[in-house]
């Protein structure tokens, strides 16, 4: 027989393999096919194709595996159990960039489902090879490696620590400075996932000089990138006062306030989360936020969103008002109270109502002026009805009760107190009656200065 015929047999086989692997990869994009593929035993067929001689077949097989593992965690576990990971990790180090991309995609797809699978990936030594991939020239490879590292670090603090120990953070900071937008997005998201677990990890990220680059990129017009950057900065700032101060020193105010006007809802949410994390630590930081006009911007942002997007903004107002009465007065004059009472009235979700009730309580508890400002907007009956209603969750009831108590103990605005005389339960009624007595018979409560040694309080 001629050589050509022999070679033809091999060519047919190669064509068959290529076709098989390409079809599987294409079928794996549709979720309805994946069940059938799994039942047909596609994992055991794809595994030897990973070791194929032809590079395109290897790459397409890795791609198909990645798509399958992406779909659900049974398939991802099958990938881990089938001992495919060590082979992938080994060839990650040597092959060309298309294979590296596909292999990093498989690692990402496996690692994203659960901490145990991510631990399996870390155990087979994939982190070092992924970090080497981060130094590659091709931006696609860097992207795939960064997203794999981000998904691994997302689960818990130990995995984040493992990623940091492999030396990923400086390379991720370099990736952020690259010109490709998709790479920037993924690197920012990976940094956000690393720094969210503990202050030490956040400090590591800050020590690599991430804050300056992240702060520069807030001005970028791409909204998905802004989401990730704001999320990363808020995860860094939330742990301690020093980290929050470092974030503020990067001169994010007032640029961050423009993000509150973005069209994308999640950019608004992440921006208000960042401002909340900064404002909650100390009165000085809240003062800074107020002086930069942050309260007005957040109030407007609350007015323009609905649902869960509003929640960080509401909490931010509460934190600012909680620190001192001057700041609470600043919140009041920025027209925060009507906005909060609107949220309280119209939001359907209980946890958002609870947050609004808490914020109103923090505003109104300082002095009679503050309590008056809250009472004038007719929120006290709403709070009372929320406290008494049987449908409210326990958390909502507790928070509205605390808010009512703290406001009532300072409220001297009688028209708002009158409705309470009719339908309040006895434990609240005693406070209402006490307030009435303070206003109508102030001489009961007034001391002379020589007896009390203090200046008398006047209402």
């Amino acid at each position: 027989m001629s050589q050509r015929q022999v070679l033809q047999v091999f060519e047919q086989y190669q064509k068959a393999r290529t076709q098989f692997v390409q079809m599987v990869a294409e079928l794996a994009t549709r979720p309805q096919n994946i069940e059938t593929l799994q039942n047909a035993g596609v994992m055991s067929l794809l595994r030897p194709l990973l070791l194929d001689v032809v590079p395109t077949i290897q790459q397409t097989a890795a791609l198909a595996l990645g798509r399958l593992a992406n779909y659900n965690d049974d398939l991802a576990e099958a990938v881990v159990k089938g001992d495919i990971l060590p082979q992938l990790v080994y060839s990650l180090a040597e092959q060309n960039r298309f294979y590296k991309k596909a292999a990093a995609f498989v690692l990402q797809a496996v690692g994203k489902h659960s901490p145990q699978l991510a631990q399996a990936i870390v155990d087979c030594g994939a982190l070092d090879t992924l970090v080497i991939c981060l130094e590659d020239f091709d931006p696609g490879v860097k992207e795939a490696a960064a997203s794999a590292l981000g998904f691994i670090a997302r689960h818990n603090a130990e995995l984040s620590q493992a990623v940091v120990d492999a030396g990923a953070v400086p390379l991720l900071v370099l990736c952020i400075q690259e010109p490709e937008i998709a790479l920037k997005r993924i690197a920012a998201s990976a940094l956000s996932d690393i720094s969210k677990h503990s202050p030490e990890l956040a400090q590591t990220v800050v020590d690599a000089g991430a804050i300056a680059h992240l702060a520069q990129m807030i001005l970028n017009p791409d909204s998905k990138l802004k989401r990730q950057i704001l999320s990363a900065l808020s995860q860094i700032a939330k742990h301690s006062v020093d980290l929050a101060e470092m974030v503020v020193e990067a001169e994010i105010f007032p640029v961050v306030l423009t993000c509150l006007k973005d069209k994308d809802e999640y950019v608004k949410k992440n921006a208000s989360t960042l401002i909340r994390e900064i404002a909650k630590h100390t009165p000085e930081l809240s003062q800074l936020v107020v002086n930069a006009g942050g309260v007005a911007a957040v109030t407007d942002c609350i007015g323009s969103c609905k649902g869960n997007i509003r929640l960080p903004g509401i909490m931010m107002l509460g934190y600012v008002a909680a620190h001192s009465e001057n700041l609470a007065m600043a919140v009041i004059i920025s027209k925060g109270v009507p906005q909060l009472s609107l949220c309280l009235a119209e939001e359907p979700e209980d946890h958002i109502k609870a947050a609004a009730a808490w914020a109103l309580g923090q505003i109104g508890r300082h002095t009679p002026e503050h309590a008056r400002a809250v009472a004038v907007t007719n929120t006290l009956p709403v709070l009372l009805s929320l406290y008494l209603s049987a449908e409210s969750s326990e958390d909502l009831q507790i928070k509205s009760k605390k808010a009512i108590k703290s406001i009532l103990q300072k409220c001297t605005y009688l028209p708002a107190l009158e409705p309470f005389l009719y339908d309040a339960p006895p434990n609240i009624l005693k406070h209402v009656v006490g307030q009435f007595s303070k206003v109508l018979f102030p001489w009961i409560f007034r001391n002379t200065s020589a007896e009390s040694g203090q200046l008398p309080t006047t209402y």
Partner: protein, 339 residues
């Protein structure tokens, strides 16, 4: 001795007489005595009383002085106390005045400066308004930019479509679909078509597929995987060391070929000449068909092969393709001769 006896006899008489005379006188004497005693006692009494009176008077004086002295002492104490308390009251009142002023000043300046507070709140509200305005402007600007970009995109699309549909332009003879004779003005598409340059259909450009992880379905076929491009040459620095002059080297490297006589002419020269001749004949011919003879009887004869070299299934290859035995060991078996 007789006197003694006489005296003794007379003693009782004497005694009696003595007694008798004393007793009478006694009463008188007693009376006088009593009177004297009375006078004396009265007088003594007077004397004593006078003395006592004197003593009383003197004692009163002493006590008076002493009491006055004690009283004055007491009075001085009281005065001192009253003076001290008056002073202290004055001092307290003055101190309260000072403290009142100081406390008011301190609270107003350091703890709760009302005017500063008012100023601060005013400044905060001004900043808020400024920020609100700035943000509104920013939002407006963004909207405007978005709208502009949208409009531009639409314009571009319409321009591209107009270029593609250029053939629908109306001519002098035939009005196009956008220029119906029943309309007063032509449709705006007509004007656009007039302005557009006709689009020459080019070879379909290979669309650049962005390389990203979110775009994985594009990786279905291997042709789509981007091929490595040939990079431009890097500028060479002059190499260090004892190298020859570059012009010499290049001269030597790119010396033109000086072939021998044998290879001076191409090896298929004869064939090329024949081809040349044939081409020239082709050029001169009217058509390329071969001139056929009238009768093609001989052409249609079917070839009848030898029975010797054909089998039921066609011509046997033995005798024409090969002569020796193909497989000499075909008729041998593996078994060793039984011995």
């Amino acid at each position: 001795m007789a006197t003694l006896a006489r005296l003794q006899a007379r003693s009782t008489f004497l005694a009696q007489q003595y007694y008798f005379r004393n007793s009478v006188v006694d009463i008188f004497r007693k009376k006088e005595y009593d009177a004297a005693v009375k006078i004396q006692s009265w007088f003594r009494g007077c004397r004593v009383r006078a003395y006592l009176r004197h003593l009383h008077r003197v004692a009163t004086v002493i006590q008076k002085c002493w009491r006055g002295y004690l009283g004055r002492q007491q009075y001085q104490l009281i005065v001192k106390l009253a003076f001290c308390s008056m002073k202290m009251n004055l001092y307290n009142a003055m101190a309260v005045r000072i403290q009142k002023q100081w406390r008011g000043y301190r609270i107003r300046k350091y703890c709760f400066n009302y005017f500063y507070y008012k100023e601060y709140l005013r400044a905060v509200s001004e900043t808020n308004d400024a920020i609100r305005e700035a943000l509104e402007e920013f939002a407006e600007m963004k909207e405007r930019e978005d709208k502009k970009a949208d409009l531009e995109r639409k314009e571009k699309k319409k321009g591209y479509e107009a270029r593609k549909m250029h053939y629908l332009l109306s001519t002098k003879q035939i009005p196009g679909i956008y220029n119906s004779p029943f309309r007063k003005d032509p449709d705006p598409w007509e004007l656009r078509l007039q302005k557009a340059k006709p689009l020459i259909s080019q070879r379909p450009k290979v669309k650049k597929i962005s390389v990203s992880v979110s775009n994985w379905p594009a990786y279905a076929s291997p042709q789509v995987l981007p091929q490595p491009k040939i990079l431009p040459p890097i500028d060479r620095k002059p190499c260090q060391g004892p190298f020859r002059d570059i012009t010499e080297v290049l001269e030597q490297r790119y010396k033109p070929l000086e072939p021998t006589l044998r290879v001076a002419e191409p090896i298929n020269e004869l064939q090329a000449a024949r081809e040349e001749l044939r081409k020239q004949e082709c050029m001169r011919n009217i058509h390329d068909d071969m001139f056929l003879p009238f009768s093609s009887y001989n052409k249609n004869k079917k070839y009848i092969p030898l029975m010797h070299s054909s089998s039921k299934y066609g011509p046997d290859s033995y005798g024409s393709q090969h002569f020796r035995d193909e497989n000499p060991t075909k008729w041998l078996c593996n078994k060793l001769e039984a011995n």
